[in-house]
């Protein structure tokens, strides 16, 4: 419906992409906004449902109190693990400077 405001704006999609650590070009942003908007339009069928008093169902399982004893188990071999690491040094995982997150 052309005169309805979109379900999701370019700005919101941009924020979402940042949260998800994805880079979108302007064109991709446009496309993603249109796609997500169309999907959310489709998903609006649940908007009208009366969900008063309905408890959310987060899991299908009725289980409770699944725990394990405090006993040491097998650990992984560091060399095997680090051999799969993109970059390692000194027995540790190496990453570029951690800026742009805290500062």
């Amino acid at each position: 419906m052309p005169d309805e405001s979109p379900r999701i704006t370019v700005d919101e999609v941009s924020k979402v992409a940042t949260l998800a650590r994805l880079i979108l070009t302007d064109e991709e942003l446009s496309t993603a906004t249109a796609e997500l908007s169309a999907m959310l339009d489709h998903f609006a069928d649940i908007d009208g449902l009366d969900l008063e008093g309905i408890e959310p169902m987060m899991q299908p399982t009725p289980l409770a109190n699944v725990m394990r004893d405090d006993v040491v188990g097998v650990t992984l071999n560091r060399e095997e693990v680090l051999s799969q690491a993109p970059l390692a040094e000194d027995g540790r995982f190496r990453v570029p400077p951690i800026v742009g997150i805290e500062e």
């Binding site: 188990g73 097998v74 951690i98 800026v99």
Partner: protein, 492 residues
Amino acid sequence: MSITYVNDDAFHPSNDDYERWSKDGWEMVVGLEVHVELATKTKLFSASPNRFGDEPNTNIDPVTLGLPGALPVLNRQAVELAMRLGLALNCTVQKSTFARKNYFYPDMPKAYQISQYDEPINIDGWLDLPDGFRVGIERGHLEEDTGKSTHVGGAGGRIHGSDYSLIDFNRAGVPLVEIVSRPDIRHPEQAKGYINELREILVAVGASDAKMEEGSMRVDANVSVRKPGENFNTRCEIKNVNSVRSLGRAIEYEARRQIALHEADEPVVQQTRHWDENDGRTHTLRSKEDADDYRYFLEPDLVVVDPGIEWIERVRDALPVLPAERRAILADAAGQAANSEAVMVVAERGQDNYVMDVAKLGGDAGVALKHVKEAPELAEQVPVESVATLSKMELSGVITASQAKTIVAVMIESQNVDPEVIAADLGFEAMDNSDLEAMVDQAIAGQPEAWEKFCAGEGKAMGALVGAVMKASKGQADGKAVTALIQTKKPS
């Protein structure tokens, strides 16, 4: 996330009776968030060892590293310890669930932390400081610790200006309990007292060794200021406080900083600030507004934890006598206040049992307490019988206080632990009261100016008179008895 308190004045009415810090009509409002590493053998969600100081990345498994396909399994002992500390803090232990807190950081292997959000295991408790001031505890919840990053190339190992960072995941997955207090604290000393008492409780119940300097207890302070009785203002979170002393300094600095802003009609920006011990100030780290949206949702890989009344009561019954009660028992026996220095020091050392044992043998708890405080080794090295006997000797005046002190030193340093034998060896004899009176008369006669001043009301002049008697008696006179005698000679 936390409940927004507008005004807390109704929490614990007697809190009003305590001293509040103030400056220029402003008071501080402080809440503390404490992260405590639990003393389990393994991690919260996997069976890797929970151990400090091992070679990097040797206590790892698929869950710790957040490898694809890995699944968490909850450590029962962590739940037990969380319950223990919750009950020790007067919390209600309730059914609880886990949630994912989603954010990206290199030491967060899954890019989400498993924590507790809507339904934490502990709620609505409190901690009473030794002087009786009550700090409310909003909640205590379980969560996993992150790995550790080391920054290479920057100044002082800081992130800023570093060339790269190295990540060690040994600590990732270690069980933590985050204890969130209500913003009830109104004085830096209360904050310090809270941390000290909390630490004692955690150690007493075996939940953690709670060492700030080692990182097994981490304290963040939420600080704001207000005019008393008014609503709360914007607060800042202070991080990187590594000792109790720093905590007091940081809180005071931050309160003053905010007061200056309010007074200058400038806004206090809600943000996280970093305490710098070296320059004694807090600095901006990041603005809370820019912080990630954590998108909390129920952790689908774990199920609800519902301890049930039986387990809860079992844990409660097994709790040891807590520090406050130990102090109360000791104080009562020794005839002192529960927050007197001697009681606090001796109880904190865990030597209260020793003093109580002395009392059980008929010794005097007050006297024993005094000596144990002054000479901690007494409780480690000397049998309770010896101290019991010593205290009886001192109380009845057979020996003086300073003579008793000497005997204590001897018992600690030598193999001889029989106070009566030591007293005899050292020639300590009870001074006859008539001998004493004679010495007092002689001292008065020999110090006419001092005597005149004393009779005129100068209490300090007593010192010269007592000193003369002590000299004449070669230190064997009982100072208290001398003082009493001099007083009786004063013309009324």
